[in-house]
Subunit: 142 residues, 2 copies
DNA sequence: ATAGCTGCAAATGCTTTGCAAGGCC
DNA sequence: GGCCTTGCAAAGCATTTGCAGCTAT
């Protein structure tokens, strides 16, 4: 067992990145940053990252993983991807249209079909087909 | 106050629509369909529709509203719109790229920046600005 | 020394489920 | 009559919160 050892081999890089972002490089944050950024582009959820941390012997609570992911997002180290509905919105407009979504008040506004064009959609991975292409234009108040 | 009266004035139309879709036109479904489809395009959540139903004096349980909205969606009377994250996915790729999302296993795959182009995005409503434009290509297994 | 972090457990909010009673064909 | 629906209350899940104790600077 290697529990207790530093999980990564380049914690300094992670530390520096955190410092630059204005975050205190705590053991937990360094370990999570190391997991996130050592490998190339990747997608994680709070749970999956928590699992990885445990797997490399780093004790972190799930709550801290959530905090850390949000902090990293705030300082621009990560991006969030929205693909599953937390709250279900239903639309009586069945056409192939898109939406403005006001993140502050949750308001949804139609963008009529034919206004927005999406081009260059690549072929889907083998064995799959495109069910639909969702476009959400997120807006905020000035 | 008109509480207690039939909420809609064209329940027959709603009834017919339900029958065509293969759904039994129960009092609750007719009332909800009537609320949904009488007016033009609209967006609702389970809660907002439940509130409307109560407001016009129709007793429906929230569970039934959920069931009904899902059934309507299955038969193509409604479309779901995904704008809020139920489960948070975080991406270490900060570029302006898009994603394939496999609805069956939850897998997320990057579509490299520069592959997809979105054109014709209209000006945002007054007093707002575009924070970002999300594109999700939803795929299913063949 | 001290402001900031972490971890635990309880709480939250939306959605789903199980099951008995009721309604539509 | 028989199968589908409804309604209630309890359960489920991911995420958030409150607070006491710990830690980096």
């Amino acid at each position: 067992m290697t529990a207790g050892k530093t999980p990564g081999m380049e914690p300094e890089k992670a530390s520096a990145r955190l410092r630059t972002a204005g975050l205190r490089p705590t053991r937990q944050r360094v370990a999570l940053a190391d997991l996130l950024f050592r490998q190339g582009d990747r997608h994680v959820t709070a749970e999956s990252l928590h699992g990885e941390a445990k797997a490399v012997g780093c004790k972190v609570s799930l709550a801290t993983v959530y905090n850390t992911l949000h902090q990293f997002t705030e300082v621009g180290l990560l991006q969030q991807v929205v693909v599953e509905a937390a709250r279900f919105y239903f639309d009586t407009n069945l056409g192939d249209h898109q939406h403005f979504y006001d993140e502050e008040d949750g308001a949804l506004t139609d963008i009529p079909a034919g206004t927005i064009a999406v081009s260059g959609v690549p072929a889907p991975p083998e064995g799959t087909q495109i069910a639909r292409v969702d476009v959400v234009v997120r807006i905020t108040r000035n």
